[in-house]
Protein backbone atom coordinates (compact mmCIF):
# COMPACT_ATOMS: atom_id res chain seq x y z
CA UNK A 1 0.00 0.00 0.00
CA UNK A 2 1.20 3.52 -0.86
CA UNK A 3 0.30 5.54 2.19
CA UNK A 4 1.14 9.08 3.25
CA UNK A 5 0.72 9.62 6.97
CA UNK A 6 0.23 13.15 8.29
CA UNK A 7 1.73 13.70 11.73
CA UNK A 8 0.32 16.91 13.19
CA UNK A 9 1.25 16.52 16.85
CA UNK A 10 4.52 16.39 18.69
CA UNK A 11 3.30 13.89 21.29
CA UNK A 12 1.23 11.09 19.88
CA UNK A 13 -1.35 9.28 21.93
CA UNK A 14 -1.78 6.57 19.31
CA UNK A 15 0.60 3.81 18.30
CA UNK A 16 -0.93 3.19 14.91
CA UNK A 17 2.13 4.29 12.97
CA UNK A 18 4.31 1.80 14.81
CA UNK A 19 2.04 -1.10 13.98
CA UNK A 20 1.23 -0.34 10.37
CA UNK A 21 3.00 -2.39 7.77
CA UNK A 22 3.32 -0.17 4.70
CA UNK A 23 5.51 -0.93 1.73
CA UNK A 24 5.60 2.61 0.41
CA UNK A 25 5.32 5.01 3.33
CA UNK A 26 5.53 8.77 3.39
CA UNK A 27 5.44 10.76 6.60
CA UNK A 28 4.39 14.39 6.29
CA UNK A 29 5.14 16.52 9.33
CA UNK A 30 2.64 19.35 9.57
CA UNK A 31 1.63 21.76 12.34
CA UNK A 32 3.22 20.70 15.65
CA UNK A 33 4.39 17.54 13.92
CA UNK A 34 7.23 19.67 12.48
CA UNK A 35 8.84 19.52 15.91
CA UNK A 36 9.78 15.93 15.05
CA UNK A 37 11.81 17.29 12.15
CA UNK A 38 13.37 20.32 13.86
CA UNK A 39 13.83 19.50 17.54
CA UNK A 40 16.17 17.07 19.24
CA UNK A 41 15.58 15.88 22.77
CA UNK A 42 18.73 15.30 24.79
CA UNK A 43 20.56 15.40 21.48
CA UNK A 44 18.44 12.61 20.00
CA UNK A 45 16.30 13.16 16.91
CA UNK A 46 12.70 11.92 16.96
CA UNK A 47 12.38 8.14 16.59
CA UNK A 48 9.95 8.81 13.73
CA UNK A 49 12.91 9.90 11.60
CA UNK A 50 14.21 6.35 11.73
CA UNK A 51 11.16 4.90 9.99
CA UNK A 52 11.70 3.42 6.55
CA UNK A 53 9.80 6.20 4.85
CA UNK A 54 10.13 9.34 2.80
CA UNK A 55 9.98 12.24 5.22
CA UNK A 56 8.56 15.70 4.55
CA UNK A 57 7.99 18.81 6.66
CA UNK A 58 5.82 21.75 5.71
CA UNK A 59 7.82 24.97 5.44
CA UNK A 60 4.91 27.20 6.49
CA UNK A 61 4.52 25.28 9.72
CA UNK A 62 8.25 25.29 10.45
CA UNK A 63 8.42 29.07 9.98
CA UNK A 64 5.34 29.66 12.11
CA UNK A 65 7.12 28.00 15.02
CA UNK A 66 10.37 29.93 14.60
CA UNK A 67 12.31 27.20 12.78
CA UNK A 68 14.39 27.56 9.64
CA UNK A 69 15.62 24.93 7.21
CA UNK A 70 18.89 24.89 9.17
CA UNK A 71 17.04 23.34 12.11
CA UNK A 72 15.63 20.49 10.05
CA UNK A 73 17.15 17.02 10.14
CA UNK A 74 18.90 16.11 6.88
CA UNK A 75 16.61 13.16 6.28
CA UNK A 76 13.57 15.41 6.02
CA UNK A 77 12.63 17.25 2.85
CA UNK A 78 11.13 20.70 3.42
CA UNK A 79 8.15 21.30 1.13
CA UNK A 80 5.54 23.98 0.67
CA UNK A 81 1.79 23.55 0.33
CA UNK A 82 1.92 23.42 -3.47
CA UNK A 83 4.49 20.61 -3.38
CA UNK A 84 2.36 18.81 -0.84
CA UNK A 85 -0.53 18.84 -3.29
CA UNK A 86 1.68 17.18 -5.92
CA UNK A 87 2.91 14.58 -3.45
CA UNK A 88 -0.66 13.76 -2.49
CA UNK A 89 -1.77 13.22 -6.07
CA UNK A 90 1.37 11.73 -7.58
CA UNK A 91 3.11 9.64 -4.95
CA UNK A 92 0.53 8.09 -2.64
CA UNK A 93 -2.85 6.44 -3.03
CA UNK A 94 -4.11 6.71 0.52
CA UNK A 95 -3.77 9.38 3.16
CA UNK A 96 -3.98 9.04 6.92
CA UNK A 97 -4.12 11.83 9.48
CA UNK A 98 -3.16 10.34 12.82
Amino acid sequence: MKLAVFVSDYRNTVDTLERLDVEDLGIVFVQNGVNHAAVKENGEPSPLLQKKARLYALSEDLQTRGFTEADVDGRVKVIDMGELVDIIFNDYEKLAWL
Binding site: M1, L3, T13, V14, D15, T16, R19, L20, D21, K94, L95, A96, W97, L98
Partner: protein, 136 residues
Protein backbone atom coordinates in the same frame (compact mmCIF):
# COMPACT_ATOMS: atom_id res chain seq x y z
CA UNK B 1 -20.97 0.79 -11.37
CA UNK B 2 -18.61 -0.06 -8.62
CA UNK B 3 -18.14 -0.43 -4.91
CA UNK B 4 -15.81 1.88 -2.99
CA UNK B 5 -14.41 0.32 0.15
CA UNK B 6 -13.55 2.47 3.17
CA UNK B 7 -11.65 1.58 6.33
CA UNK B 8 -12.78 3.61 9.35
CA UNK B 9 -10.10 3.24 12.02
CA UNK B 10 -11.00 4.37 15.55
CA UNK B 11 -7.79 4.67 17.54
CA UNK B 12 -8.80 6.89 20.46
CA UNK B 13 -11.10 6.29 23.44
CA UNK B 14 -14.69 7.53 23.46
CA UNK B 15 -15.98 10.54 25.41
CA UNK B 16 -12.83 12.60 24.99
CA UNK B 17 -13.80 13.88 21.59
CA UNK B 18 -16.69 13.14 19.28
CA UNK B 19 -14.41 11.10 17.05
CA UNK B 20 -15.49 7.53 17.88
CA UNK B 21 -19.16 8.49 17.76
CA UNK B 22 -18.76 10.34 14.47
CA UNK B 23 -16.89 7.37 13.02
CA UNK B 24 -19.91 5.20 13.75
CA UNK B 25 -22.54 7.65 12.50
CA UNK B 26 -20.58 8.36 9.31
CA UNK B 27 -20.17 4.64 8.66
CA UNK B 28 -23.88 4.03 9.19
CA UNK B 29 -24.64 6.64 6.52
CA UNK B 30 -23.53 4.08 3.91
CA UNK B 31 -27.15 2.89 4.10
CA UNK B 32 -28.54 6.09 2.62
CA UNK B 33 -25.70 7.25 0.37
CA UNK B 34 -27.33 5.68 -2.70
CA UNK B 35 -29.69 8.64 -3.04
CA UNK B 36 -26.62 10.71 -3.96
CA UNK B 37 -25.01 8.10 -6.23
CA UNK B 38 -25.81 6.55 -9.59
CA UNK B 39 -27.50 3.17 -9.95
CA UNK B 40 -25.17 0.35 -8.91
CA UNK B 41 -22.69 2.58 -7.11
CA UNK B 42 -22.11 1.63 -3.49
CA UNK B 43 -19.89 2.55 -0.56
CA UNK B 44 -18.90 -0.17 1.91
CA UNK B 45 -17.28 0.92 5.14
CA UNK B 46 -15.61 -1.39 7.63
CA UNK B 47 -15.45 0.03 11.12
CA UNK B 48 -12.31 -1.00 13.00
CA UNK B 49 -11.41 -0.34 16.64
CA UNK B 50 -7.72 -0.43 17.54
CA UNK B 51 -5.56 0.80 20.40
CA UNK B 52 -7.46 2.75 23.04
CA UNK B 53 -10.35 2.81 20.57
CA UNK B 54 -11.32 -0.69 21.71
CA UNK B 55 -12.54 0.85 24.97
CA UNK B 56 -15.54 2.08 22.96
CA UNK B 57 -16.73 -1.52 22.66
CA UNK B 58 -17.35 -2.15 26.38
CA UNK B 59 -21.04 -2.66 27.12
CA UNK B 60 -23.30 -1.03 29.74
CA UNK B 61 -22.20 2.55 29.08
CA UNK B 62 -24.44 4.77 31.19
CA UNK B 63 -23.89 8.02 29.30
CA UNK B 64 -27.61 8.81 29.08
CA UNK B 65 -28.17 8.29 32.82
CA UNK B 66 -25.18 10.40 33.81
CA UNK B 67 -24.85 13.02 31.11
CA UNK B 68 -28.06 12.87 29.10
CA UNK B 69 -26.31 11.90 25.87
CA UNK B 70 -26.57 8.86 23.66
CA UNK B 71 -23.80 6.43 24.54
CA UNK B 72 -21.23 5.19 22.07
CA UNK B 73 -22.74 1.80 22.88
CA UNK B 74 -26.10 2.83 21.44
CA UNK B 75 -24.39 4.09 18.29
CA UNK B 76 -22.55 0.80 17.95
CA UNK B 77 -25.77 -1.15 18.34
CA UNK B 78 -27.29 0.93 15.58
CA UNK B 79 -24.30 0.06 13.41
CA UNK B 80 -24.84 -3.65 14.01
CA UNK B 81 -28.53 -3.29 13.20
CA UNK B 82 -27.68 -2.01 9.73
CA UNK B 83 -25.28 -4.92 9.20
CA UNK B 84 -22.14 -2.88 9.27
CA UNK B 85 -18.91 -4.86 9.37
CA UNK B 86 -17.36 -4.00 12.77
CA UNK B 87 -13.93 -5.31 13.74
CA UNK B 88 -12.12 -4.92 17.04
CA UNK B 89 -8.43 -5.68 17.49
CA UNK B 90 -7.97 -8.94 19.39
CA UNK B 91 -4.48 -8.08 20.66
CA UNK B 92 -5.73 -4.79 22.13
CA UNK B 93 -8.67 -6.49 23.83
CA UNK B 94 -6.21 -8.92 25.38
CA UNK B 95 -3.86 -6.12 26.37
CA UNK B 96 -6.68 -4.44 28.30
CA UNK B 97 -8.01 -7.74 29.62
CA UNK B 98 -11.45 -7.16 28.09
CA UNK B 99 -13.25 -10.47 27.82
CA UNK B 100 -15.61 -11.26 24.93
CA UNK B 101 -18.71 -11.17 27.16
CA UNK B 102 -18.04 -7.49 27.89
CA UNK B 103 -18.19 -6.60 24.21
CA UNK B 104 -21.31 -4.81 23.01
CA UNK B 105 -23.80 -6.78 20.95
CA UNK B 106 -27.27 -6.05 19.66
CA UNK B 107 -28.69 -9.55 19.64
CA UNK B 108 -31.66 -8.68 21.83
CA UNK B 109 -32.57 -6.01 19.27
CA UNK B 110 -32.48 -8.55 16.48
CA UNK B 111 -29.11 -7.72 14.93
CA UNK B 112 -27.73 -10.45 12.74
CA UNK B 113 -24.12 -9.38 12.91
CA UNK B 114 -21.75 -9.07 15.85
CA UNK B 115 -18.58 -7.15 16.56
CA UNK B 116 -15.78 -9.46 15.46
CA UNK B 117 -12.56 -9.68 17.45
CA UNK B 118 -9.81 -10.17 14.87
CA UNK B 119 -6.01 -10.03 14.87
CA UNK B 120 -4.48 -6.68 13.92
CA UNK B 121 -3.23 -8.34 10.73
CA UNK B 122 -6.81 -8.54 9.53
CA UNK B 123 -7.38 -4.85 10.20
CA UNK B 124 -4.18 -4.16 8.28
CA UNK B 125 -5.64 -6.17 5.37
CA UNK B 126 -8.87 -4.18 5.59
CA UNK B 127 -6.83 -0.99 5.18
CA UNK B 128 -4.92 -2.47 2.25
CA UNK B 129 -8.02 -3.50 0.38
CA UNK B 130 -9.82 -0.24 1.10
CA UNK B 131 -9.87 2.56 -1.46
CA UNK B 132 -9.49 5.12 1.33
CA UNK B 133 -8.64 5.04 5.02
CA UNK B 134 -10.18 7.39 7.58
CA UNK B 135 -8.52 7.60 10.99
CA UNK B 136 -10.61 8.82 13.89
Amino acid sequence: MADVKLAFIVQRPPYKSENPKLAITHAIAYQVVEILLEEGETVTPTLCFVGDGVLACIKDQKAMDNYGITSTETHLKNALLVDLNVLVCKEDLERFGISEERIIDAEEMGAEVKIQAVPFAEIQKTMESANHVLFF
